[in-house]
Subunit: 553 residues, 2 copies
């Protein structure tokens, strides 16, 4: 005996979960709501609706058909938001190009994704010029131009974005099709190998939008609401700017797209447009809080969720001191991205600031529809005691179902029927996940696992330190030993030595917060710390570079 | 060329949208949160999780298999919530029996739904006893008993609910299956013909939950949140208590199930449990506000959304005067049910009370994923000008795809590919729907359409009137003419005559608010107004009864 499927009378309409279904109601209900592109443009939701139709119609005129791929190389803009809707809604695939990659990597992703049309901001023309002869086949180019001038380029520019829209049909009819159609694709770069393509369907993006909204709007603290003003500070090319542009549009909130990220400009926009909700990586927040301009600005209505890297308690404290409602988000390119949010539960709202800070810096509570487990190497569940750590594996309706044209790595990602995040974490009795390390960055010393993230967090608490990274260095006796790289604040350079940092950590070891084996044998003071193209610590490079330094030293 | 469907690596997990996916995270994240059943029982979310498993396991032990139907006859209780989850989660169909129907109608629905097991509250045993010989085939009965005593009954009771749970497995594993599996079924009764069965799949209920949550939690006013306390006052047998129990559970809020609705008891629960969010029909709200007990209770933290019938402005005003955050919801059995909510937009929060009241009493803004049109008889869209009225037709992922075993009426419901609500309404420039009448209740007089609801709303504003209904009565000259039935407040009986009410309406006609043709020729003062089993005005009966009265008089 099996379950009964519902019967469908022939005339009944079946609603596939398509991105277009997110757009109609907000445009009707909030037609005058604003969408702002830095200092360049102010438009309304009504404009958005009309321009999305014109864009799709214009692209169709350029020859874009269902199943084709349209690439975008732009800063965060109202145009990018229009592409988020128009391209998938016409049945094409949106390729959000990571413009921070090297030209060689960009070339690889354009060819690998088989882009048919590229929408390119004037600023990135030199990148395309550098690789033009190796793009196959030659693509049609649409220029995104904020300069007001015709750029000097040897590339064959098909048309300009606004010209394309002007010629488009404002009543373009978007077709119905399968909710499993591919809507977006983009590339994730680790420290090894070629970029890997992930991809998401209409169904996945719609469900991600609703899962995210349920978590972000239903909460007490850190709540995203219809009366918020939204500005992303995580690029739109990077995992759909965490999918929040879709959620923000559905809610009908005012949206600010800041263009290229310049700290003073971001702060000005927060002030001028009364921005109340953003998301960013720790590095950007640190830059904003370090800007002299921050003194002039009231941040007490600003809610910010932090992802991409662990949120150090010291940074969170700094933000809280300015009144920022800060909390962690967690996810990755493979997961659309959101998996958890570190909201305070209602009963925690009475807690003192320090206890709250600890929760805000946890990795968070799984979103609705996210099944998140912490498992041992045999995929057995580990106890939710806040200390036993294992790999984080997940299931959810919005996870990439593989890597593009890479069956082997796809199977590796999904081995055992769960997506493997490659992160090590613990779950506590309240249900909060805490990522303690990357599986590949955890330091294995004398049979014990030392969390590099935990050490970094403690070192960062030292008042003289502005940045740090801890990596495992091969050791003949212990397997690996931790090495700490430390950047001192400019006014403290030369005032702090290796012993100071080691003593600082020894205090925490004496209190039982870390194992005494966790205290690095060596602390190196450096001017800067190697990062990847998306601003993450490049530990692979550090391990290579400093293993030699140490052995040579 | 067609769209590209996403590729799925063999090991990737596909998450069907199943009701079980709503339950796991709240139980893990809010295990100590409370669920209260009137004065009978307090339990936690942890208990809920365990009891849902035990119930499914116990039902399986009784022989319930995937595709079977389990009927429930109970007041609103923690048990009913358990059935909302356990029965569909095991792949069976939950039949929520409308216990306000006549025994003959209940018999019809039990046989038509082909129930396999009936969970029945002691109080409804007499109903089953009356129809026992005609239930086919004989069902297994599970007793829901709050009395603490063994009831005297001639029925063959299989087991008692708590006994069944005690014997069940707290680690029962719920299977995966198609998201299009039927999860629930129940019957809608008009004033004509046999009850009609509607049905909803797992996918539909999950999407309804997320659509509802996005609208209810993302708003400024009337916001449902993690720190709310929820108590339904629309029965759980009636369209899933508007689906809010699923949404409340997902959020992890405290839930109160009040048993049978007794106004003083409801008020006591609101007070004792600090209830902050409810939904009900206007009649119930009126009873609550008319209770002497209301004087002792602070309702200023209570949010109530009103559906099932139009919310009269006079009643809304009365609620506002007590501080209640009141607003309209709209839907029907066929629509799962929610289609619209009459939330204030952010810019309306500064409006004066009277203008806000008008919005709160509109039918509302369509929920996310609801495509709602007002059309003429040829299905052309009518202008959104707030005055042009036509039939409301809808599409959404959560509409019944037909009537159970009734192909002809199913096609009628869905003619033209849209679900026909049978309601007449207008949409204004802000996007708010306002239902002006039922298609079958609108009064056609001299070529003009008169809204019976609008007349009722105006008559209700008269200080002496407590209840009213307006129906069209056949008229040889004009086709139809309106007749008003009026119930006066007890202390005003005999003090108001027909001319007073006609003059009252003439004022509104003079101001252009209604057509002068809308003033009823006859006003009859009556002791009560005929209602259907679910408490709606029974206009069919009135038309029959009073057409004769008038013609005879």
């Amino acid at each position: 005996m099996s379950e009964q499927l519902i019967e469908r009378t022939p005339s009944a309409h079946y609603n596939p979960l398509l991105i277009k279904s997110l757009l109609d109601n907000p445009i009707r209900q909030f037609p005058e709501q604003e969408i702002v592109y830095g200092d360049f443009k102010r438009q309304t939701y009504r404009d958005l609706g009309e321009r999305v139709s014109r864009l799709a119609s214009g692209l169709a005129g350029l020859g874009v058909r269902r199943g084709d791929t349209v690439a975008v190389m732009d800063w965060d803009s109202h145009r990018y938001l229009e592409c988020f809707f128009a391209v998938p809604m016409m049945g094409a695939v949106l390729h959000t190009v990571n413009i921070r990659l090297s030209p060689e990597q960009i070339l690889y992703t354009i060819n690998h994704a088989e882009d048919d049309v590229i929408l390119v901001n004037t600023e990135f023309l030199p990148v395309l010029e550098a690789i033009r002869d190796r793009i196959e086949p030659v693509k049609k180019l649409v220029l995104l131009n904020d300069t007001g001038q015709t750029p000097a380029t040897t590339l064959d520019i098909g048309t300009e974005y606004e010209t394309l829209l002007a010629s488009g049909d404002p009543d373009y009819k978007f077709p119905d099709f399968s909710e499993d159609a591919r809507a977006t694709t983009f590339y994730t770069t680790g420290t090894t190998g070629l970029p890997k393509g992930v991809y998401f369907s209409h169904r996945q993006l719609v469900l991600h939008t609703f899962g995210t909204l349920a978590a972000l709007t239903g909460t007490g603290q850190g709540r995203f609401n219809r009366d918020d003003v939204y500005m992303p500070i995580t690029p739109m090319f990077h995992v759909h700017a965490w999918g929040i542009p879709y959620a923000a549009t559905l809610l009908g909130v005012k949206q600010i797209y800041p263009g290229r990220y310049v700290p003073e400009q971001l702060l000005s926009l927060i002030q001028r447009e009364s921005v109340t909700f953003s998301h960013c990586v720790p590095t950007i927040l640190q830059m904003l809080l370090a800007s002299p301009k921050v003194e002039e600005i009231d941040l007490s209505r600003w809610k910010v969720t932090i992802g991409g890297a662990a949120l150090p308690q010291a940074l969170a404290k700094q933000a809280r001191d300015r009144g920022v409602d800060i909390f962690t988000a967690y996810g990755m390119s493979e997961t659309c991205p959101l998996l958890t949010l570190a909201h305070l539960k209602p009963h925690m709202l009475d807690w003192d600031e320090e206890r709250q800070l600890e929760i805000r810096c946890k990795t968070g509570l799984p979103l609705p529809l996210v099944e998140l487990r912490v498992v041992d190497e045999d995929m057995n569940d580990l106890p939710h005691d806040g200390t036993t750590s294992g790999e984080v594996v997940v299931r959810s309706p919005w996870l990439t179902q593989g890597y593009l044209k890479d069956p082997q790595t796809s199977e590796q990602l999904w081995r055992g029927g769960y997506l493997h995040t490659g992160d090590i974490g613990t779950i506590d009795q309240e249900g909060y996940l805490k990522i303690t390390d990357r599986l590949k960055d955890v330091i294995k010393t004398g049979g014990e696992w030392i969390s590099s993230l935990e050490l970094e967090d403690l070192i960062l608490k030292h008042p003289a330190v502005t940045e740090t990274a801890v990596v495992g260095i091969p050791d003949p006796k212990w397997g690996e030993r931790p090495l700490a790289l430390v950047v001192l604040k400019p006014d403290r350079t030369g005032q702090v030595d290796e012993a100071t940092i080691r003593d600082w950590l020894k205090d925490f070891a004496d209190k039982g917060i870390i194992s005494k084996w966790g205290i690095p044998d060596r602390v190196l003071f450096v001017d800067s710390i190697p990062k990847t193209s998306v601003g993450k610590l490049n530990k692979k490079e550090m391990r290579q570079q400093y293993a030699q330094t140490i052995q040579g030293g």
